[in-house]
């Protein structure tokens, strides 16, 4: 008897089926899985590959190419700080340094308590209100440390 699939794998198979098991839908599939599970777990990749009739390497290749997809869930609070040119012109570099130092977390990492993930992002389309940030999907204009701290505290 084969081992029963884990709930994560079952979910991944169901998402693939919902997309007609079409390989061209792979990015939408990975998004849907991650939206629900918080990440695309390693153990789901063979099942996705099988469902879409792709090589596992192809699924891995797509996963690793795009910045959005993650193997492990982010912290409960996900802060994206824009470091593109427009935000740099309004002090984004100092803001990022300051924010990371206050929360004792490196850019691109999750805090030791697993609560806060801080990521760099390159443009959120809010360049007339730089610097821009996004906290759990919510766009923040004219971001400063005080506002970000308040939003992080609220989201914790």
């Amino acid at each position: 008897m084969p081992e029963p699939a884990s709930p994560q794998v079952e979910h991944a198979i169901a998402v693939c089926a919902a997309h007609g098991n079409a390989a061209s839908e792979l990015i939408e599939i990975l998004h849907d899985i991650q939206d629900e599970a918080g990440c695309v777990a390693e153990e789901t990749l063979p099942a996705i590959a099988k469902a879409l009739n792709l090589a596992r390497a192809e699924v891995h290749g797509v996963m690793s190419f795009y910045h959005d997809f993650r193997r492990a869930p982010a912290g409960r609070v996900r802060v994206q700080l824009c470091r593109a040119e427009s935000c740099q012109s309004r002090g984004a570099s100092a803001l990022i340094e300051d924010f990371c130092a206050r929360h004792d977390v490196a850019l691109g990492q999750t805090s030791r308590d697993g609560m806060l993930t801080v990521e760099a992002v390159y443009c959120l389309g809010n360049c007339a209100l730089s610097p821009a940030a996004m906290v759990n999907g919510r766009l923040v204009g004219r971001a400063d440390v005080a506002r970000l701290d308040a939003l992080v505290a609220e989201a914790r």
Binding site: A22, A23, S24, E25, L26, I27, E28, L30, H31, E58, G61, V62, F65, Y66, H67, D68, F69, A84, E85, S86, C87, Q88, S89, R90, V121, Y122, C123, L124, G125, N126, C127, A128, L129, S130, A132, M134, G137, R138, L139, V140, G141, R142
Partner: protein, 514 residues
Amino acid sequence: MRIYVPADSAALSVGADETAAAVDAAIAARGLDATLVRNGSRGMFWLEPLVEAETPAGRIAFGPVTAGDVDSVIGAIVDGTAHPLALGLTEEIPYLKNQERLTFERVGVTDPLSLADYEAHGGLAGLRAALGMDGAAICKEVLDSGLRGRGGAGFPAGIKWKTVHDLPEGQKYICCNGDEGDSGTFADRMIFEGDPFLLIEGMVIAGIAVGATEGYLYIRSEYPRSIEVMKRAVAIMEAAGWLGANVGGSGRTFWLKVRRGAGAYICGEESSMLESIEGKRGTVRSKPPIPAISGLFGRPTVINNVLTLAAVPLIMDKGAQFYRDYGMGRSTGTLPFQLAGNIARGGLVEKAFGVTLRELVEDFGGGTASGRPFRTAQVGGPLGAYVSAGMLDLPMDYETFAENGAMVGHGGIVVFDDTVDMGAMARFAFEFCEIESCGKCTPCRVGAVRGKETVEKILRGEDVAKNVALVEDLCEVMRDGSLCAMGGLTPMPVLSALKLFPEDFDRAPKLAAE
């Protein structure tokens, strides 16, 4: 009475939802016969959240209105009294009045998801006109308008369309590139969120023109609200019969799918975008074949930017000549410029080509936000050149900018004051290329890394003259040897910074005798 509070992402980012909730509460508390409409943004972002109210004289504006200001603003609206945040008639605000809004005619004016509102403001007239024409005639109209690709390359849209139209019948596609990743740009986002039906209308016209029955709209994942609004707009257009198997009762077919990006800047490059829509890694394709001949799934494909397709309904409605009467030289029509970065009045300014950078930065933008002197602006995104104060009188048109070693690109203008370190910006240009390169070709993949390292050496004062020469040489290799604009244009910001601001790179240790 209708009261407007934008639901545009930028407005939301400075508290528009809180303002809207307060407006709703004030309407209820005062028992007003008023409805709250969540419009797009007028594009005057320093005034967001901008609250507007209908009056017999026209719409009046207040801004920026925080939730705490709402009660007094509503009081001023109802009683017709003065208010410190009052801006008068919206249309008379110089920033708006001095624009030539063609593509952005309805953005901020209408309820973005009300098809009735859309039609009442001239929507669908272009598509209705197109449905009465054959494909070749539509392509000719677009060609005659002089409309060029607004993504940056400026290739004539009509030629692309005609190429796809002239190929034998069979599966063809329309792909709209909504991967607006350039820093300093947000015009596409404002269309998605402020006038989504316009873009759909443009895509349907393109489909009918070239005989494509399927379209894809690719939107970057950094724009979650845009994705949501566009998906709802597609559903509304399907339900109303403007998308689907019988477009507007014409018997023609056009289906539209919205696809999410996944955080890769390179997918704004058209062939990478195609790969991404096909569910693959976003690596660029070699050309030829061009996508018009072999594009999505190997089929003939029209790929246009959001602003290109959004310009089409007006051209079909008012005619090619009307559009061509705007602009200068071979740059016809208008471009929605985006004022960003360190600028006092950042926002969207749609003007005919030919407007100068100075008019945009100083007259519209009001100079820097910090109040410090202007030093440079990066025009046309992260792959565009930095310009000096001496270049501010250049008219914005594709050819003039190209002659001056710069590019108009997608119309984004990022302003910097005199605190900017151009050495750091040159280093960043290479770093960005390193992070976002798809990795397919060596000049881009390796050049970005070596370029960054070499600029770092310059900034540490190591062999400055020798390393500057090395960077220049590397830039030539990247420009001439890269497969696409990512590697090919990264030299643009680097070399412009080196040329115009050499003092920022002159970090050689000074001799003690000096």
